[in-house]
């Protein structure tokens, strides 16, 4: 029997709907369920549901240390990924406009940080920052008379190190997004700014950035989510130490599940991460809607 036009449309969507239900919605709901269970991989736990995983987390002083570390890590990572990504994209476009050779090579080089797996990023930065005599950066600092710095062994330096490594890793994706945004800007805007006598900085601040707002917001959402969920490079670089100085929420969830085999508590942290991501996405989306309405009203 032939399908009606409406049913045909539905049939095209069906694989995607099934995919989303099975691989996205079901695991998310199961994660939420597990976060209310006293369950471990190696312990039987109790059969009922409980709020204990959450109450224990919020009563735990170390949870607030981890939260503080996560906020610092995410804030500075996102700030610098946005800024450096924009600067690189702007330089790239300017270079292309001037017909400079090598822009493709530069673009490809920057992308290396993006395509390398997180664990490898951690290992590369570990080789670079290690404080033994084999450490590359410390070798040069020593040679220049500055002396060795405790990049991975001092709590504050270690947090700076994992953040810098993450900025390096995420700047490429941010650059590509903003590069695409810059490329689709109408050339007339640039020409009008030049005719009006705007300097490079004035043009960037008052013409380019306002015109790119939707792209910038989307980029902000994506790199924030990516950074909040990052733990692979940290586990390879510091393992969350020294102490808990570089333990972010995502790493804490991983350690609880795969090192301590505490599935319930790990799931509770994962749900908190999910909520953080959801709230930020909603805030950004509201901002975009507001900006669009403002633009239409103007």
């Amino acid at each position: 029997m032939l399908l009606s036009r409406k049913n045909k449309r539905f049939a095209f969507f069906l694989p995607m709907v099934v995919w989303l239900l099975v691989f996205l919605l079901y695991p998310t709901l199961d994660l939420i369920r597990l976060s209310f269970k006293d369950i471990g991989f190696v312990t039987e736990g109790t059969s009922g549901y409980t709020f204990e995983n959450y109450t224990q987390l919020f009563q735990h002083s170390d949870f607030y240390t981890i939260l503080r570390v996560t906020i610092i890590f995410v804030f500075f990572s996102v700030l610098f990924q946005m800024f450096l990504g924009f600067v690189l994209a702007r330089v790239m476009v300017a270079g292309e406009d001037r017909g400079l050779v090598g822009t493709v090579v530069v673009r490809t080089s920057v992308l290396i940080g993006w395509v390398i797996p997180g664990v490898v990023v951690g290992i590369i930065w570990n080789l670079f920052l290690t404080e033994s005599t084999t450490g590359i950066l410390n070798y040069w600092l020593n040679a220049w008379g500055i002396g060795r710095l405790p990049f991975l062994s001092d709590p504050t330096w270690a947090l700076i190190s994992v953040t810098v490594a993450n900025i390096w890793r995420g700047t490429a994706a941010s650059m590509i997004m903003q590069y695409a945004g810059l490329k689709v800007l109408p050339n007339e805007l640039h020409e009008a700014a030049v005719i009006d006598g705007a300097s490079f900085i004035q043009e960037t601040l008052y013409v380019t950035i306002p015109a790119m707002k939707p792209v910038l917001y989307t980029n902000l959402v994506l790199i924030t989510i990516k950074t909040v969920n990052t733990f692979d490079s940290i586990i390879a670089l510091t393992g969350g130490g020294p102490g808990r100085s570089t333990e972010v929420l995502a790493l804490s969830a991983y350690l609880r599940v795969f090192r301590q085999f505490d599935l319930g508590s790990g799931a509770a942290i994962a749900v908190i991460l999910f909520v953080i991501n959801l709230v930020m996405t909603l805030i950004y989306s509201r901002i975009i809607d507001f900006e669009e309405e403002k633009g239409r009203a103007a």
């Binding site: 190696v42 084999t134 062994s153 969350g240 130490g241 020294p242 090192r259 301590q260």
Partner: protein, 434 residues
């Protein structure tokens, strides 16, 4: 007609012979006769022919698999390779065991072994009393479940000792005080060589390096029921002593502050290559590695001694290793599996080729490679007073909190007492919710 029949039979015979001659005893997921009706399933995580990156080991394993297969034509082993991540691999096996979907035999990290006891089956009948008594004490204890039955074969182990450069340290320190004195002198004399480095970062290497100090004093992490006791009575004093000792190592300059970035013993191979440390706690497997990373002359400078303890008359080391757990109830499969483990993975030749340590005294005493090698003889002595980590569900949390406490003390974030109390609170909170 008769002639035709004879020719046909001869052809069939020849064809069968040819097929038999071409039988592949070891394929990408099978060991043994492909036509064998008895199928044993096996999950293997470490030291398999398929994952071995060393030619010598791979060649040995393939030959040993084939030899077992030829001797056991009625059995074939279907192999599944486990996850390279030990924790994830163990979780997978235990989840399979919970739903009755586990392999007949599976390789288990020794310190997870007690958690598998409820699922493992007795192989008491397949080991003689002499064989059982041949295992080191901690090994036999680990292989025995709560009902006193042998349910696994702990075939391979490791042990930790103090590596020291004999050109810088003529005599190995025996006590913590001696270690601090010797290491401080070396660090002060040459700023390119640190006296003593040790792991104090977020990794199991940190916990496993300091537990021998604790065990040597008689400290216990948990009681016989698995309840944490490391902050109670004398155990607390032992731990505070250790944290004070580690703090003093760094404060006195005997050890560099970078120790909080080390997570594993393997990282000290870099120190050997860079000639930047005079002493460190290391595993038995590392000595041979030195010959691959530095010249023979340089590698020869490294000697091994017992780990320095609080008092000279104390001794302990830490041991781990891998175990084959038997999950099948089929007696025939049990017997064939035990034969496989004995012939392939308990064979003295395997230990000589792989560099891993056997778990039986007789191998050290009777096999030339172990009898004639002074390091192997040392390792045997270390193993006799060695301890294994407690296999209770709370141990991973204790280990994780110890790592945090050690770094907090060394970086000055907490006093030893505060760090230990914090670790205790976190562990007990977790324990009570279990």
């Amino acid at each position: 007609m008769k002639k035709t029949l004879i020719i046909m039979l001869a052809a069939v015979f020849l064809l069968t012979g040819a097929v038999s001659a071409q039988t592949e005893w070891v394929t990408e997921n099978r060991i043994g006769n492909p036509d064998a009706e008895n199928v044993i399933t096996m999950t293997i995580q470490q030291f398999s022919y398929w994952t071995s990156s060393y030619e010598g080991r791979a060649n040995y394993l393939k030959e040993a698999y084939e030899a077992w297969a030829r001797r056991n034509p009625d059995y074939q082993i279907r192999v599944t390779l486990g996850s390279k991540n030990i924790g994830e691999g163990m979780v997978k096996i235990i989840e399979q065991a919970k739903v009755g979907n586990e392999a007949d035999i599976a390789q288990i990290d020794s310190f997870f072994l007690p958690r598998f006891y409820p699922y493992l089956k007795s192989i008491d009948n397949y080991l003689t009393e002499e064989e059982k008594n041949d295992f080191f004490g901690f090994v036999r204890e680990g292989m025995t479940n709560n009902d006193g039955e042998i349910v696994a074969i702990w075939n391979e182990t490791d042990v930790r000792g103090l590596y020291y450069r004999k050109d810088l340290v003529p005599e190995a320190p025996e006590t913590w005080d001696e270690l601090i004195d010797v290491a401080s002198e070396i660090s002060a004399a040459d700023n390119n060589v640190d006296g003593y480095v040790f792991p104090a970062g977020r990794g199991e290497g940190t916990t496993f390096s300091i537990l021998p100090f604790y065990w040597a004093q008689g400290g216990k992490l948990v009681d016989e029921t698995g309840r944490p006791v490391f902050n109670e009575g004398e155990n607390r004093e032992y731990f505070i002593d250790i944290l004070n000792f580690l703090e003093e190592l760094v404060a006195s300059g005997a050890s560099p502050s970078r120790v909080t970035s080390y997570k594993t013993l393997g990282e000290f191979n870099n120190e050997v290559a860079a000639k930047s440390a005079a002493m460190f706690p290391g595993g038995n497997w590392q000595k041979n590695m030195f010959y691959d990373i530095v010249s023979e002359e340089e590698a020869d400078k490294w000697e091994i001694a017992p780990l320095p303890q609080k008092e000279a008359n104390m001794s302990s080391s830490g041991s781990g290793g891998w175990v084959f757990g038997i999950f099948t109830e089929d007696e025939g499969k049990k017997a064939a599996a035990v034969r496989f483990i004995k012939e392939v993975y308990m064979n003295p030749e395997w230990f000589e080729i792989s560099g891993y340590l056997p778990t039986r005294n007789s191998v050290f005493e009777n096999y030339y490679h172990f009898r004639s090698n002074k390091y192997q003889q040392q390792f045997q002595k270390f193993l006799q007073t060695s301890d294994a980590r407690p296999g209770f569900p709370i141990y991973p949390t204790i280990s994780s909190e110890i790592q945090v406490a050690v770094a907090d003390v060394i970086t000055g974030s907490k006093t030893p007492e505060e760090a230990l109390d914090n670790a205790w609170d976190n562990v007990m909170e977790q324990y009570e919710s279990m």
